[in-house]
């Protein structure tokens, strides 16, 4: 066979071949593309060696212990530390969501300087050295000019060593202006200070209480230290304990807490004090109160005469004359028989505790109402009794250095008898430039522009302050107004040292080393402050010799060792208890040296002193009379020198009710604004924080199947009257402003009231954070006269379809 392959044939063949090759290449590519479209390739999660580390959550002041699962260098799961006395292995959703804070896409990556103006900032990335130099330069300049006192540092009271460090720094630097955000417990703190004379946080013996009566406290939605309260709640309903603690929630709205309570007592908004005093009426008239306690440990129950011989009204006669059942029923809208029954139950099921008055974890209630509620505790002898209201044990630690400056603080409350200081007053003072103009503000992971009632005032403060620096995780609304933004580390990246959480009776010191290496260029603010102190030199450097926060925390552990009490978190709470009780107060630690304590604290998560001595009256009753004061002499003495106080309260200066708990009603609605706006708090966004975390956004409104967006709760009747269907977008307008929001019809709303959840309505940040309305932007600026606390109740709105 002869078969000639010509050149032409070869060219043809090659041409065909090239085409074929191209076709098959394109074909394969097309097939694999198509396959990809059809079957999106599955995400491969990188592996690595598994390890566990301990952490501390500071999403709220509770400081729950965390156990973090790591795979390689990544943190992949946050769980509760079972050894931690506060949460004992449980966690609230905010704690579990820590990972999303750590890996959040909106996090600040590097220090930035604002090269634009305050109103339209332009950000330029700078180095940490430059940032610290700028900060040091500003502070040094002010100090050298004798203006150290014009520097203010603002943070949230975090119950942590870092807060103590900040405080110490400010004092040593020469400024009295260490300012904290208002807290939901401020009214309670004021009441306890006025009636018991103590400034240490209040605590509750949750586990042993038989009857818990909450006046509007959102006990299960973020108040106090959520995980420990939820643990207690579980125990109240634990069948194995053979009893069930009754939990009663008094509140206008059928909140989640109300729905979980054994009984919900709906009442008119702002009438908590009246109800408490009405119950006191029943306790007194029926002789259900603890006569022995009242006789021995209280002051101002009966009518009395002062040293000058003037007659004063006592608590008993005030209650008997002004809070008779039918009057209280009319004031509160609660039927007489309900008040009667509640009072009898409260008197007969001891130990019983009453808590309030408060709405949320950030918005305080009214001090007079809080006094009325707290008086119930005194009536049934629950003050410092097992199962009652306690005063938190003091942490063994060296006291902070005293003030080195004679200048007054800028956040003086109207009555200086109130021990706390808060930003609401500071904003007023800064704007007015009194008593002196503020030259620099340092924000430490707070966002007052967003989270303060009347945040716009604070926005103006920042705008008129020459220098503002902000430690922040995100470029939030307040950081947007700063000259210098410093990226802060999140909980799992930094050294943590959190002390006794609010409402927890024992002294606790949780510590944790960094779980994962810091992301981006974020730094622990405490470390930066320490470096700042060294650069500044002088008193600041002397007061803070630690090179970094780790060293600072380590030194504190030495103080714990020196205190010779307590123990490291141990494997079983019961064991710790038994051991301590068995040895009847003998201290038998598992460690012999301070270094061993330090080692063990790192391994177990911290140190605590579980013992609590009841009935240390000189510790828990520090009033002028040394007793529980129904009639607050502290307040009376102060008011005697300040006539404007009675004027502000709208009463005569000799009116004894000024110093006794009494009902102060909410103002009537102004014409055209018929609906009372009350902000509410939901656990996932408790404290107004967490709005940037998808995990929390998804579950925040689950009682109404709402997610990612805020909603306006309306009762069905009002909605019907206003022709607003469920889910419609409406306008809500107060005298301060208006906003668009989705209306949701909810049967649990009291007619005449509307509710907006806190924590929504960010204007800064990416899409992940935005959505909804910030109710604080609608609230009017209202203060009560005693401590000048911002009052969330009292703003009226109108709602209309958009």
């Amino acid at each position: 066979m002869s078969f000639k392959v010509g050149r032409r044939d070869f060219v043809r063949f090659a041409g065909g071949g090239a085409l074929g090759m191209a076709a098959s290449g394109i074909g394969m590519e097309a097939i694999s593309r198509f396959n990809e479209a059809l079957a999106a390739e599955q995400m491969q999660v990188p592996g690595g060696p598994e390890s566990w580390a301990l952490g501390v959550c500071t999403q709220c002041p509770a400081g729950c212990g965390l156990r973090v699962r790591k795979v390689g260098a990544r943190a992949v799961k946050v769980q509760g530390n079972p050894l931690h006395p506060v949460n004992q292995g449980g966690l609230c959703p905010k704690g579990v969501a820590e990972l999303q804070t750590l890996y959040h896409p909106d996090r600040l990556r590097a220090p930035m300087r604002n090269t634009g103006t305050r109103k339209s900032p332009r950000w330029m990335q700078i180095s940490w050295d430059e940032a610290i130099a700028t900060l040091t330069g500003q502070l040094r300049k002010l100090r050298d000019a004798g203006q150290a006192h014009t520097v203010a540092l603002v943070e949230r009271n975090r119950h942590s060593l870092s807060s103590r460090l900040m405080q110490r720094f400010m004092t040593a630097y020469g400024s009295p202006n260490y300012l904290v955000l208002p807290s939901g417990q401020d009214a309670l703190k004021t009441a306890v200070h006025l009636q018991q004379g103590v400034t240490q946080p209040v605590a509750y013996d949750w586990d042993r209480a038989q009857y818990v009566l909450s006046f509007g406290v959102n006990l299960l939605e973020g108040w106090g230290s959520p995980a420990s309260i939820m643990r207690a709640f579980g125990r109240w309903r634990d069948p194995s304990s053979g009893r069930r603690t009754k939990f009663v929630q008094v509140e206008p709205r059928f909140s989640l807490t109300a729905s979980r309570a054994d009984e919900w007592v709906p009442l008119r908004p702002g009438a908590e004090a009246a109800l408490a005093l009405g119950m006191a009426y029943v306790l007194i008239t029926e002789g259900l109160y603890d006569a022995a306690f009242v006789r021995e440990h209280t002051f101002g129950f009966e009518d009395w005469h002062d040293d000058a011989g003037r007659a004063h009204q006592g608590f008993r006669s005030l209650v008997l004359s002004e809070y008779r059942l039918q009057d209280v029923a009319a004031l509160t809208g609660v039927p007489e028989e309900t008040i009667l029954r509640l009072a009898r139950e409260f008197g007969n099921h001891r130990p019983a505790v009453a808590l309030g008055d408060s709405q949320t974890s950030t918005l305080p209630g009214n001090p007079y109402s809080a006094m009325a509620v707290h008086s119930l505790n005194a009536l049934v002898g629950s003050i410092d009794a097992p199962g009652g209201v306690l005063i938190q044990a003091v942490m063994p630690a060296s006291p902070p250095p005293g003030s080195v400056t004679a200048w007054p603080r800028i956040d003086q409350s109207p009555s200086s008898v109130f021990p706390g200081h808060h930003l609401a007053e500071a904003a007023r003072a800064i704007l007015a430039g009194r008593p002196y103009p503020v030259q620099a503000i340092i924000l430490n992971e707070v966002n007052p522009v967003f989270s303060m009632p009347n945040g716009t005032a604070f926005e103006q403060c920042l705008d008129q302050t020459p220098f503002v620096a902000s430690f922040a995780v995100f470029l939030d609304e307040s950081a947007m107004r700063a000259d210098l933004v410093l990226p802060a580390q999140t909980d799992l990246e930094k050294w943590q040292a959190v002390t006794s959480p609010p409402t927890f009776p024992s002294a606790v010191q949780s510590i944790a080393a960094p779980v994962v290496p810091p992301r981006y260029q974020a730094r622990q603010p405490a470390d930066v402050i320490l470096e700042l102190a060294h650069q500044l030199g002088g008193a600041a450097a002397q007061a803070l010799p630690a090179a970094n926060f780790e060293e600072y925390v380590h030194a504190q552990a030495g103080e714990l060792f020196a205190a010779q009490s307590g123990s490291v978190f141990s494997t079983s709470m019961e064991d710790a208890w038994n051991r301590l009780l068995d040895r009847s107060g003998w201290w038998s630690p598992t460690y012999a040296t301070a270094d061993e304590l330090w080692e063990q604290m790192q391994k177990q998560g911290g140190w605590w002193d579980p013992t609590y001595s009841h009935g240390e009256w000189q510790r828990v009753l520090k009033t002028p009379s040394g007793r529980f004061e129904f009639y607050s002499q502290t307040l009376a003495h102060w008011a005697a020198a300040h006539p404007e106080f009675a004027r502000n309260a709208g009463m005569k200066p000799d009116d004894d009710r000024l110093f006794l708990p009494h009902q102060t009603p909410i103002a009537d609605p102004p014409p055209g604004y018929p609906l009372l706006l009350l902000p509410i708090e939901v656990l996932p966004l408790a404290g107004g924080e967490g709005g940037h975390l998808p995990y929390l956004q998804q579950i925040a409104g689950s009682h109404l199947f709402e997610a990612w967006e805020s909603w306006l709760e309306m009762d069905p009747e009002t909605a019907h009257k206003l022709h607003i269907p469920d889910g419609a977008i409406v306008w809500i307008e107060s005298r301060r402003g208006r906003a668009q929001v989705r209306a949701r019809v909810y049967a649990g709303v009291r007619p005449g009231v509307v509710h907006l959840p806190l924590g929504y309505g960010h204007t800064a940040g990416s899409e992940l954070s935005r959505g909804g309305v910030n109710p604080l932007s609608l609230l009017e600026d209202r203060r009560e006269p005693v401590a000048g606390l911002p009052q969330s109740a009292g703003t009226y709105v109108r709602v209309y379809p958009s």
């Binding site: 090759m21 076709a23 098959s24 074909g27 592996g47």
Partner: protein, 178 residues
């Protein structure tokens, strides 16, 4: 045979082009599809398993997770530096290790043996509890003088289930599917 009559020229031309097309298309399909899937791994250093094992080391010295964790783990540079911080040989590959360490870099190993993303595989379960020798899946590494270019065997579901059935390993879906 000599009278093998050729096709009329135009037809023959078409056949030639067509033949070339088909032939190259098939070859191309094979080549391209294979190229997409199975490119031989190139490792950052030409690690010699045989030599290390001959020197008395065991698998778990470097693959530290084998006996305690689900993942065997590929050794970090730090592990290498335990022995190779100072030069043991004049090998250029060995110097790479120290150069990387000096530059503060990590060893970018290419993972060769990998189960699909939806399969959970635990080394400890297989090696410690079921006492399966490494070589059953990974082959005789004591003979490997160069990094293996491709996995020792295909890790298909059939392969897994077959072994599980033969050795009563259990074939509950969710024990491996995740």
């Amino acid at each position: 045979m000599a009278d093998w009559s050729p096709m009329p020229p135009p037809l023959a031309a078409r056949w030639t082009i067509g033949g070339g097309f088909v032939l190259c298309f098939l070859v191309g399909a094979v080549v391209f599809s294979a190229a997409g899937r199975n490119h031989a791994a190139s490792q950052p250093i030409a690690f010699n398993h045989a030599k290390h094992l001959a020197n008395g080391m065991s698998c778990t010295d470097c693959h530290t997770g084998v006996e305690t964790q689900a993942r065997a783990t590929l050794p970090a540079l730090e592990t290498c530096m335990n022995c190779h911080a100072t030069a043991l040989t004049a090998s250029a590959e060995e110097r790479k290790v120290r150069d990387l360490a000096a530059a503060g870099k990590e060893l970018a190993w290419v993972r060769l043996t990998q189960v699909p993303a939806h399969v959970f595989f635990s080394h400890r379960r297989h090696v410690v509890l079921a006492k399966i020798a490494c070589a059953i899946c990974h082959g005789p590494m004591e003979k490997a003088t160069a990094p293996p270019a491709r996995p020792f065997r295909e890790f298909t579901m059939d392969a897994c289930t077959q072994c599980h059935e033969n050795n009563r390993g259990g074939t509950e879906c969710n024990d491996c599917h995740r």
